[in-house]
């Protein structure tokens, strides 16, 4: 069996091709999905990519969340299908209430683009099992509306249940509450984060590392984690 992972293209998505490529490099079949088509084409997992769906008009992700494909994705996610939201995809996941909280403009109002260190705070989600708990990874970060906010009760709940999946290390690039870079739902199948693992999957095109320029591939394990989980489930 080969795992099939879909990537949704919304009007204004930018990183859908990169996400498809990351899925292929990780060893799965990459399936393009379209916002207006509710059919998920029998995929086993879905990635909502980065970009500026609908130009970020109204609020980031606010219009994309009403796309026909999202109804099907919400049903599938509630049934346990792995769903990963990256950047704008994370914003869509909060707008559609699969993940709590919301994103507002970066505290300093600047667009940020940098290689960012993250700590893996939960290595048991569908997208993080191939990392070690507490492992530090470097992936690109690029956003304008990246400040994660939620009320204190929600934040305490996320912390208490181990649902903070990633935290910024060294510098909080956008003012996110409690340095949160990514979170998961209670079941661990839905994960959203602002940084971009799909841009750190192939040596020569990734972030700089101490061993050399652009050789970082720390993002690949997101995809290999999902694939391993899907294959294990299929063979059991």
């Amino acid at each position: 069996m080969t795992a099939r992972i879909g990537v949704v293209t919304f009007p204004g998505s930018l990183d859908d091709r990169d996400a498809l490529r990351a899925v292929r490099l990780a060893g799965a079949e990459a399936v393009p999905l379209f916002h207006a088509d509710a059919d998920l084409k029998d995929v086993d997992a879905v990635v909502l990519p980065g970009g500026f769906s609908y130009g970020d008009y109204l609020r980031a992700g606010a219009i994309a969340r009403f796309a026909p494909v999202m109804d099907t994705i919400v049903d599938a996610a509630e049934g346990g299908m792995p769903v990963l939201g990256i950047c704008n995809g994370f914003q869509v996941l909060t707008e559609v209430h699969l993940l709590p909280g919301s994103m507002i403009k970066n505290e300093h109002l600047h667009f940020v683009c940098r290689d960012q260190t993250l700590r893996v705070e939960n290595a048991q989600t569908a997208w993080t099992t191939e990392y070690r708990q507490g492992e530090e990874i470097v992936v690109p970060l690029k956003n304008q509306d990246g400040q994660y906010v939620a009320d204190a009760h929600t934040l305490d709940e996320l912390e208490g249940e181990g649902r903070v999946a990633f935290r910024y290390v060294g510098w909080n690039p956008n003012g996110s509450r409690r340095d949160i870079a990514g979170i998961t739902n209670a079941r661990g199948n839905v994960v959203g984060l602002m940084p971009h693992p799909e841009h750190a999957v192939e040596s020569g095109f990734g972030p700089d590392s101490v061993e050399g320029g652009r050789i970082g591939t720390d993002g690949l394990a997101f995809f290999t984690s999902a694939i391993k989980g899907l294959l294990a489930r299929a063979s059991s």
Partner: protein, 106 residues
């Protein structure tokens, strides 16, 4: 043409980076004396025909689902407004609402 105005503001406990930047710009311009600036959104919905309770209920629904995100924003008012009789559309000035609008969120 009758319109419904929806005003949305960031929740008081949510930091408003844009409002903060605007506040700083006011100070730079020498327009001083304000403790805080917060930026919200105003939506104008022009209606086909009369504004009925049904239309208003629809706008209330839209305000809570699409126009605002209850995690970070409050719908502070949903108001009906007439043109005031000044725009040439033929709509008469309303005696009941001389200021041209009526607040529908008590």
């Amino acid at each position: 043409m009758p319109k419904i105005i929806v005003d949305v503001m960031p929740k008081p406990e949510i930091l408003d980076p844009q409002g903060k930047a605007i506040g700083a710009a006011l100070t730079r311009l020498g327009i001083e004396g304000f403790r805080e600036v917060r930026q919200g959104k105003r939506f104008e919905l022009k209606v086909h025909g009369e504004i009925t309770d049904e239309v208003l209920a629809k706008v209330q629904h839209a305000a809570q689902t699409l126009l605002s995100n209850p995690v970070i924003e409050d719908v502070v008012s949903v108001k009906k407004t007439e043109c005031g009789g000044n725009c040439g559309c033929g709509h008469a000035k309303s005696d009941q609402a001389p200021n041209g609008h009526k607040d529908l969120l008590a």
